[in-house]
Symmetry: C3
Subunit: 434 residues, 3 copies
């Protein structure tokens, strides 16, 4: 299924972006987010970067202080630097307070994080809303720590500043929108989450080049949770009025599987388009339920928000071994993985673009023969194309849309869309695009 790297220029291009973005130390606020947004603006120059002050209310939440970190390390009792933020930005717990102290191993242990079952992984830990500090190390290293006095230094600031996010709007024929969201708050983690901004940027480039888009497109690049809450609190009515479908882009970089996570409602146009697209790309795709959610769909689909946001993923967050550890590095994602995800989401988006309600203009079957759409000679057997055309006609009652008909007939909506155009041009059906 995956395209070979040599022959996959789009995948190669996305993988290069991921390599550039991977090392940046992102968090929910701070210079890493801004550096990331600056890079993304090079890819899509129309990207607007917004700044929201610390202390701003967003529904039940408050934008926290901005976190800046310059350095962090641990020195062992012999004065040897054994943990160093410069070597891996996962080593310092996200939003750690500044500290510079000497303390015995027993006390240090309360500030260390490692994973017993993954002894060679540095875990990813944050504490956004409770002031503390800590270091993340491999369990192998932790087990070797000798008793004694350690020096811990974190050179960080926590003070009022800004939460930043990017927004890109591409105007289509309709003010109704397709909404794409991804997050930019994870430090050096590849599948979750360098892949999301990368694939979303490629989708934005693709949508920008299209003419005659039926829908407008809105791409947002935000810190997870607080970012989507801030964005929703500022734009809720507009989003509720305009969004016809949308996708949260996360974990879209590896090649192990395709995954689908439904919206809370479960049967929105986004869900139907995502299921339809994946069914025709890889019929073994994994179907999760709303109970498996965990990213910004939690906000977009919350009661009272109720946006139609579904997720098409590769290996889902929480479901692959490298998740939220230093093992989720650039070796986990591939050009083919990124390109496959791009292609699946593009197919789902096109399904929304192509979806319409075909409606008969005549009574009884139209006479396709005199319009050159039917074989002149009636013999045993009939072509598959003709069968699909007749099926589409028989369901063209103005109630069913192409997605529903495609699923009944068992063909891709892209094929059905071509047939519906032929029939519209032949004057036997109308297409209702509302």
């Amino acid at each position: 299924m995956e395209v070979m790297s040599r022959k996959n220029p789009l995948g190669e291009k996305m993988y290069k972006w991921a390599r550039d973005l991977f090392p940046i130390n992102r968090s929910i606020t701070g210079p890493g987010v801004r550096e990331t947004l600056n890079y993304l603006r090079q890819l899509n120059p129309e990207l607007n970067v917004h700044s929201v002050s610390s202390g701003t209310q967003a529904f039940d939440w408050t934008v926290p202080d901005e976190w800046q970190i310059r350095n962090g390390w641990i020195e062992d009792p012999l004065g040897k630097r054994i943990v160093d933020f410069k070597l891996n930005n996962l080593h310092v717990v996200g939003y750690s307070e500044p500290i510079d102290e000497y303390l015995p191993l027993e006390e240090l242990q309360g500030h260390l994080h490692s994973i017993e079952g993954q002894p060679n992984a540095i875990p990813y830990v944050t504490s956004y809303y409770n002031r503390t500090w800590g270091f993340c190390i491999t369990d192998i290293q932790r087990r070797k720590l000798a008793p004694g006095i350690y020096r811990v230094v974190i050179d960080s600031d926590l003070k009022p500043g800004y939460l930043n996010y990017g927004e890109l709007f591409i105007k289509g024929k309709s003010k109704k929108e397709i909404f794409i969201s991804t997050h930019i708050c994870h430090p050096s983690l590849a599948n979750n989450e360098t892949s999301g901004p990368v694939v979303a940027s490629a989708l934005a480039q693709w949508a920008s080049t299209l003419n005659n888009l039926r829908y407008s497109y809105r791409f947002v690049f935000i810190p997870e949770t607080i970012g989507s809450l801030v964005y929703l609190s500022r734009n809720l009515k507009k989003l509720q009025n305009n969004i016809v479908a949308g996708f949260n882009i996360t974990c879209v970089g590896d090649e192990r599987c395709f995954s689908y996570l439904p919206s809370r409602a479960g049967d929105t146009l986004s869900d139907r388009a995502a299921s339809h697209a994946l069914k025709h790309i890889d019929s073994n795709f994994k179907k999760y339920t709303w109970l498996d959610r965990g990213s910004d769909e939690r906000q977009y689909c919350a009661p009272g928000i109720d946006l139609p946001i579904a997720s098409i993923m590769r290996s889902k967050f929480g479901e692959y071994p490298e998740y939220h550890t230093s093992l989720d590095d650039l070796s986990v994602i591939t050009p083919g993985g990124l390109e496959g995800a791009f292609s699946a989401i593009k197919t789902a988006i096109m399904a929304v673009e192509q979806n319409c309600r075909p409606k008969y203009k005549v009574l009884g079957e139209p006479q396709l023969g005199r319009r050159g759409l039917f074989p002149n000679l009636s013999k045993k057997g009939s072509t598959s194309h003709l069968r699909v055309m007749l099926h589409l006609l028989s369901y063209a009652d103005g109630k069913r849309d192409l997605l529903e008909i495609a699923d009944i007939v068992g063909v891709a909506i892209s094929d059905l869309s071509l047939v519906s155009s032929e029939l519209e041009q032949a004057g036997v059906i109308d297409l209702d695009w509302r």
Copy 2:
């Protein structure tokens, strides 16, 4: 399941009709149709024959010129007549133009039709709406043709005339109708389609003899597609107002299986009655979907027409090897096959006749004992008849009809109908026949 021929006078009678009708060279228009209708009028003298002029508009279609064919043959380079319409009327492509020419084998090949995978079958080919000519032969014969100059003669006319169809109306207590349609446009083909007019004629004879019919009955004998379109274009509003259920009768002659093809809506009274009837006749009956359609249900159920027409068949068109070839001859159909189809469709019709909504006249269970409907002594175990009676009572809420209750309880509606009469006579339920 099939009744032995010796003991099956109805099956024998229908088989004789089929033998009489089989040789006639039918098409969608022409003397073969009229000869067929004349024969059918002998079976049901009330049958009205209608004539519709060539050029008449029927929705998106136009009644074509009438086709008359007197003869057709091919002579080989030695002057030997190797193909002869008089021997098998499938040899000439339906609606062939007249021709009398000499032409080399290479050129002749473009006008020959045979089936590679069925080398001993003459295919059935027509070209109603595109002027051409051709011959149908076995592939065995075709492979033996030697190079040389052949003479081809088709003595036919294509000129303004009439499309004919038959209509039979049997008045019942209600102006609401049960509608039966079958087609009379296939030449010497047995299961598809000599069986349809034969079984429909037997059903008409049966319905004519019944007194106290709840519904009126309308039987139409039409050429497929153009005939149903013509009929619909002249009667649409009446049909939409009056038809409560209906069946398209086709492929009802062999003994290999029972088949059910739903209406487009899939859950009409016709569908429920057909499924119910077949379930109790042969639980292994084949269930097709709307995607498998192919006969006049395409018109009757088209969007905007939306009549409740389902199909009960034996081996379905397109699904048995002899279909649309000379192999679909009188050896394919049997008295038992015809009689079984007759019986199944009659059972479905009776299910519609018997269907009503039973409604409690008392509160709580009625005391059946004092009405002689309950065993006086209460012991462990109870009779099946009593269980069915109690089940019917418990669902007699005025919302469910007998068909639904029969399916829940798992009994035939004919049995339930007897029980509902008992209960009505005992004064504990009303029957709502609307």
Copy 3:
């Protein structure tokens, strides 16, 4: 699953009641019913005993004469008393007329009842509405009867009197009621039916001790069929207005399985609560359908009555070998069996009490962290309690009730109820108790 007797004081207590009640010769009327109600009034002093005169109309039925029986026996040709009512009250057919006659074996046979397939069982036979007399004996005894003249004596009365039933009302905060019905008309039969009144009495004691009940509770102890019809005919409107859920208590004494029989509608609150409770108690519980009904649900759910009454049982009536024979004795039921049924029904009742509609007070997810409901540190993995809390929040749209959410999430409503209280106290959801 069953609690050991030694450690099951409630089960032991109920079993003692069953031992006391078992020997009483109950029928649908007469002193046995009154003796039973007197005993039950000792357990729940608020129990009101109602008397309804013979001849009173109840919908389609009439309260029959009262039956009193003092004695009954058969003497064999040698004058030996071979059948004696004093030894087992099942020996005389219920509602037998008085008789004192000598008659030959051939004639006696017409008045004897035994079960060929259960040769050592005395069957339970009644004839409430048709005057007759008879004796029930084991088939073993019957086969040994020698030809000759037998004396049969039944010292009984059938004359105007009363039908009695008990009713207990426990006032809760709402006038809406949970309704519990059980029957008191079976003589010495244990699972069906000494267990029902015993478990219903224990439930009434339990409900009486609770403070702050949301709903009022109504317990009725009635003769089966005629009793429920009488009760309904006197209270129908009140019941239809007030009952939110209810359970018919029968066959709740053995340990072989749990069973669920739905209401006629099948999806009432009672059905949902019963299914939910049993699923979490014993996932292998047997699911019957409305076609398997047989007790007073026949009246409570009849068309036009339509109360939401479901049944939680142990081995269902008609489905265990001892049913309606002398083998259904005190060895069939156990303290553990009674206690398990009590507990299951109590759980279903509590599910109704706990059921409410949670509704978000904020937009987007509430910030649980600052309310102490979220771990301060975000690491891989999350606690089950937190997952349940987030699931409840995500479904708190004011449309779904706790029972539905519990079934989606896969937890017991009792657990979800605790979580919903936490969230209500934290001010992030409202609970709609209507």
